[in-house]
């Protein structure tokens, strides 16, 4: 595997006459959490589903765990775990039954009870799937993705619709997976999620990658701090790489003239700011 879980180069995909991926490339290293970010329609799910083996690509080289997912079979699927964007499980089974059913599909699964506990569904073990809440269903999805003890886990918007507490719990689970040495490809709308979890990210816009690197790398090269205040009722925004000097000057002036810097805010730029810069404007069709 050479320390690489996923290699993508020149990947193209069209639906009819509309090309949705214009030859993208990126690499996911073994053991890292890689986040694919981008607005709706940018091509995230298409990309992920090509890597999972659900969709055929039109052009490009794709290697997932050293195999071509377009041709791979059961042995490939035994090494990956998938959380799809929408949950789908048998409504009439209970949590333990469905996890045990899926465990049977894999050559060397983890113990169902252990995985149920890992995703925090121990209290719902005997509950029928149709009685679970949305967040619990998502956690069951995660359990089914992990039951086969995969080397690589695909998480397509795994925390959409979670309340903040459930999201933190899911993040802990993802960190645990990473510490077990799993590679993780994550798509998400939540920049905070990517910044907290991802070792590296790629930002996809209109079928092209417009930025890639660690969250720190993406933040550098941009003015890193934003200073806001109001003067005579007007909002003033300064972006600077030297916040200490700028603040000192501002507050010095204000003290000297006896005025208050109304609504003073100092704000570190986040991945979200960079993301919005990179994805701003019309998506190209």
């Amino acid at each position: 595997m050479n320390g690489v879980a996923i290699e993508v180069e020149g990947l193209r995909k069209s639906y009819g006459a509309r090309e949705v991926l214009h030859g993208i490339g990126f690499e996911v290293r073994a053991g890292e959490v890689f986040a694919l970010l981008g607005p709706n329609g940018a091509g995230k799910t298409t990309t992920v589903e090509i890597l999972e083996g659900y969709r055929r690509r039109d052009a490009g080289d794709v290697r997932v765990l050293g195999q071509d997912p377009g041709r791979a079979g059961g042995d490939f699927r035994a090494r990956i775990g998938i959380v799809l964007q929408s949950s789908a499980v048998y409504q009439l089974l209970n949590v333990r039954e469905i996890v045990a059913l899926f465990a049977g599909y894999y050559p060397s699964p983890r113990r169902p009870d252990e995985v149920i506990e890992l995703v925090g569904l121990s209290e719902q073990r005997e509950a029928r799937v149709r009685t679970l809440s949305g967040g619990q269903l998502r956690r069951l999805d995660l359990a089914l993705a992990l039951i086969g003890d995969p080397e690589l886990v695909f998480l397509d918007e795994p925390t959409t619709g979670f309340d903040p507490a459930a999201r933190r719990l899911a993040w802990d689970t993802i960190r645990d997976l990473r510490s077990l040495g799993k590679s993780i490809l994550l798509t998400t709308h939540y920049m905070e999620e990517a910044q907290k979890l991802a070792d590296r990210v790629a930002i996809l816009r209109g079928g092209e990658i417009v930025g890639t690197g660690s969250p720190r790398e993406l933040l550098s090269g941009h003015a890193t701090v934003e200073i806001r205040y109001r003067r005579n009722g007007q909002e003033v925004v300064l972006e600077t790489a030297e916040p200490t000097r700028v603040l000192h000057e501002l507050t010095g002036e204000a003290l000297a003239s006896g005025a208050e810097l109304e609504g003073l805010e100092v704000h570190r730029r986040t991945l979200e700011d960079v993301y919005l810069d990179l994805t701003r404007g019309e998506d190209r069709e």
């Binding site: 639906y15 009819g16 949705v20 329609g41 940018a42 091509g43 799910t45 298409t46 999972e52 083996g53 659900y54 059961g74 042995d75 699927r77 035994a78 990956i80 998938i82 799809l84 929408s86 949950s87 789908a88 499980v89 048998y90 009439l92 089974l93 039954e97 059913l101 899926f102 049977g104 599909y105 894999y106 050559p107 089914l144 086969g148 079928g207």
Partner: protein, 253 residues
């Protein structure tokens, strides 16, 4: 084989827990037999005593209701929920999965036929099958044919909500026209013409001749050929057009 049995067990649990499917696929043909049998039991139909005529008809009806309608609705609902897609993402082979789903329906059919035979014999005074081996084979062939047609019809249905309506709009008229409940001889000529190309008519013919007259298949070649042809046609459509993914997922970027 271990995987197949593992999946088959799960499919059986799922079938019996789904009350609606269990009722329409399993119980409904049995209830119809009891009702119609007690009402019409004494008058002969087409020279056969009505109990035996109805027993044969409702065995055929049950095979289609389970293998065709039940299977098609189950598959469409699971496809549109995204369940089939999820199963495709695991190492379980697609053939093993579909094989287990169909085998599960076959178990239901076998149970149903046994119950119908017992009710026919002890409640309605019908006969036992005259040629049990050929009769069992006819039922099995019917189950296989209607399963293939059931898979084929899933390619025509777009939504889970519509599956029951579309499938029953095909199956119920077919059941009537094919003569499951009464003789096709009393039908208008054009309906009888239609009935002559339908698979259920010929399956009933096979079941009837093995059940009542004890004929082996040599003397029912036409019926055998028509049933097999429908089965192969269904299989061909299913192999070319079967989808694992829900419709909404198809064009989305």
């Amino acid at each position: 084989m271990r995987l197949f049995l593992h999946e088959l067990r799960a499919q059986q649990v799922l079938f019996w827990r789904n009350r609606e499917a269990a009722f329409f696929s399993f119980l409904f043909p049995i209830i119809l037999l009891v009702l119609l049998g007690t009402v019409y039991g004494d008058e002969p139909i087409e020279g056969v005593d009505a109990a035996t005529y109805l027993l044969v008809g409702l065995i055929g009806y049950g095979v289609g209701a389970t293998a065709f309608a039940g299977l098609a609705i189950t598959i469409v609902v699971r496809r549109e929920q995204g369940l089939l897609k999820r199963v495709r993402g695991t190492p379980l082979g697609p053939g093993t999965y579909l094989g287990a789903v169909i085998a599960s329906e076959a178990i239901v059919i076998a149970l149903q036929v046994v119950v119908q035979l017992l009710i026919g014999r002890y409640l309605l005074d019908a006969d036992w099958p005259a040629a049990p081996g050929s009769f069992a084979f006819a039922v099995l062939l019917g189950a296989a044919t209607f399963s293939a047609l059931g898979l084929a019809v899933t390619t025509l249905v777009r939504t889970a909500e519509g599956s029951s309506a579309v499938v029953n709009a095909i199956y119920l008229p077919m059941a009537f026209i094919s003569g499951t409940f009464f003789s096709t001889e009393e039908m208008p000529a054009f309906l009888e013409g239609i009935s002559q190309v339908l698979p259920l008519t010929h399956l009933l013919d096979l079941v009837r001749s093995t059940f009542i007259e004890g004929e082996t298949f040599a003397s029912t070649e036409t019926a055998l050929a028509v049933v097999v042809a429908w089965g192969l046609a269904g299989l061909a459509v299913a192999v070319r057009r079967f989808r694992w993914e829900p419709r909404e997922g198809l064009q989305e970027a």
